[in-house]
Amino acid sequence: MTGIDDSALSRLRAAVREPDLSGTRYRLAGVAGTGGMGTVYVVEDTDLKRRVALKVLDLPDPGIEARLRREAQVLARLEHPGIVPVHDVGTLPDGRAFYTMKWVQGDRLDRHLTEAVTLSERLRLFLRIADPIAFAHAKGVLHRDLKPENVMIGPFGEVLVLDWGLAKVLEDATDPGAARSTGDSAVLGTPGFMSPEQKSGSSAGVDARADVYSLGAVLQWMIGPGAVKPLEAICRKALAERREDRYPGVPALAADVTRFLDGAAVTAHSENVWQRACRLAKRHRVALAIVAAYLLVRAVILLFTGR
């Protein structure tokens, strides 16, 4: 019997996992990444002559297949520039379920922020992450797995929220079973970014405030340690243990971040008179500088000419 080395074994495993695209319009071009549910390949759409991403299960499994199909359906109902559009869904000749979506090239948020990015740029980026989440909530969909690894920054600065595999449809009149299909008792999410109610495994108790918590964790990660008090207060409020103490929804969280960017008072932080004066002075510093220049000119004229 001949031995087989580790690299040959891993190549063999990859080859076995490779999707059978025979008889389809797709041709394999490479691997984009792997996840808990399956692998994402880069494929060539021979009909439309473009590259798309193809997500396929590693093994045929009816339970996970239902989740993959539901993820595709959830994505299909969320038409937003910050959410990857789905192009096609089906079953490959090898029996594995798949769906194709836009192939997003760019940097993951965690890699993107290793470059020098100013605080205001980080906050504007955060607002662009919050926007598709607020949109999804308005459509009755929770993401439930928000983390820097699931946000992609495109080459033209476009922000896309990825991996809706754990998404939960809150209310769906056309599919009453949709809200239960991800498993009520399973602990779903990523430690560090997962809300306390998700950690407890209670899927029924999860609402939009779970994503508010995750976005708060993303915000805290994006701004890093030593942030100014109003920003710390925003993170603290979003990351409150009791969901009643958090922002009621993503728009309220985004509004507070916008207020901070505009130099206005944030709802999460009550400031004293001195802090308020400093903030207003900073916000109107140019106008104050011109007024000071005017007063200086007047004082100099008065001093030297007596007029």
């Binding site: 140019v286 106008a287 220049a293 005017y294 000119v297 004229i301 000419t305 007596g306 007029r307």
Partner: protein, 119 residues
């Protein structure tokens, strides 16, 4: 508030305050009412012109330059009526124009872009 309204409001208020500084000049005190009125009208006119410019141009840099120019020009015309105190009138007048220009862009609402229509 739109940029023209902000320009008129800020120009008028600054005109009043600028006129009131004449109180510090003892020889001008008897004419303080006329000076304040004239300064207010000057501020209102300058504010309206600067606001109109800011509405059309929408550039902070150009509005600051234009505001300074308008403030200096109107102050020069006022100074010429008296025939003296050119520096004492033009220099603060220019700064009032600069401040009005800044205020119109910073605090005034920019005109809404026209939405494209489908044919």
């Amino acid at each position: 508030m739109n940029r023209i309204a902000v320009g008129i409001l800020v120009g008028g208020v600054l005109g009043i305050l600028d006129g009131l500084t004449a109180w510090f000049t003892p020889e001008a005190r008897p004419q303080i009412v006329g000076i304040v009125l004239g300064s207010t009208v000057k501020g209102l006119v300058a504010g309206a012109i600067i606001g109109l410019f800011a509405r059309k141009v929408s550039s902070l840099g150009w509005t600051l330059a234009f505001g300074t120019f308008v403030g200096a020009l109107l102050a020069f015309l006022i100074a010429q009526m008296g025939g003296k105190y050119y520096l004492e009138i033009i220099l603060p007048g220019s700064l009032v124009g600069l401040l009005t220009g800044y205020a119109t862009v910073r605090y005034g609402r920019a005109p809404s872009p026209v939405a494209p229509t489908h044919m």
